[in-house]
Subunit: 209 residues, 2 copies
């Protein structure tokens, strides 16, 4: 039995108390991976942004809003865990300044300075212990294969799951799974539930058996 | 019997195929107002952004993503209707440029130029016929009373409902309702369902009886 941490869903980066930047990640892939990991008798911690999906009851669920909060909670959970799966789509930009009151419209354009947030998977993979493993997800609109491989190297991941933007908030999806070195180890199509099971079966065989 | 158009939920303004600006509006207030209007035997059209709330089956529901789409659909529906209730929280800024591919991170800050979107309620109220009425919502974090009155004048609304940011995505809320001239005509506290009924009762008495 292993302890698996799964990040899931989107995060929000507020510009002011009302408006924020986010994406349509639903948490469905995270829920499917958690289901599959529990099926293999692993212990599961999910660190999730705001979603309306239901996670399995036997998973320990930690809810966060921002990428910073997701990073802090995922780091804490990963310290005690064997593996980390980065299925979340954390917001990777945040406004440099956050207004404390709702910004009133002025009739003029608004210049918003965005800075990159912490890369959760890269940061945690960089400090992982020899027994720990990290699986990343790469969502790309172009050059999917090349970018997934590059991201895997840059982020020190052990496996990389590549998908496209059509996967976001969709019931069905199509993914490829690559090993370090770029070798394709799996290709799955179907519902998120089926893909989650297929991906986790590869993870289980690679790291837990 | 009147025909009432209700805008509901948030809208999304995409920066690229993945990231967008939005807010946490749930559509609950729109659903509660629709329920109340149907209870008074009115015909209801809801123009809604992406929400997970369920609208009453007897309402005609039109789904949109962006503020521009909400404006177009609300304008079309309002042409045939007696009244318009602006319960939506449409995104009031959009990026001047939308990237066609997912923007890759560069390690550098990103300057985003935002421009104001069309003010749906102000635009439609400005062209309303003598028999038509428009009810606006003002969400403010400070100077609520003063700003609600100012918005009502500026947007040519017949009633203005004022609430605070704590109302967003909440089960319960507290609102004040003002008439042209600034007179307080109602104050409601409780669940969104109750508040929706209370607000619509005032709307019905003011415009439909």
């Amino acid at each position: 039995m292993a302890h698996v941490v799964i990040t899931s869903g989107p995060t929000r980066q507020y510009l002011d108390p009302v408006r924020y930047i986010t994406n349509a990640s639903s948490g469905r892939m995270g829920a499917a991976l958690a289901d599959a990991a529990l099926h293999f008798k692993h212990a599961v911690t999910i660190v999730t942004g705001p979603v309306s999906v239901s996670y399995p009851r036997r998973a320990h669920v930690i809810s966060v809003q921002t990428t910073e909060e997701m990073f802090i909670e995922a780091r804490k959970a990963f310290e005690q865990a064997d593996g980390l799966i980065g299925a979340a789509a954390p917001c990777d930009y945040r406004p440099r300044r956050v207004a404390t009151q709702k910004m009133a419209k002025t009739g003029q354009p608004l210049l918003l300075e965005l800075v990159e947030t912490e890369d959760i998977i890269a940061s945690l993979a960089a400090t992982k212990m020899p027994h720990q493993w990290v699986v990343g997800f790469a969502l790309e609109t172009e050059d999917r294969h090349f970018r997934a491989i590059t991201k895997m190297q840059k982020k020190s991941c052990d496996l990389m799951v590549s998908n496209g933007p059509e996967a976001i908030d969709a019931e069905e999806s199509q993914v490829e799974i690559y090993k370090r070195g770029g070798e394709l180890v799996g290709q799955c199509t179907g519902t998120k539930k089926k893909i989650g099971r297929d991906i986790f079966t590869i993870i289980h065989k690679t790291f837990c058996s």
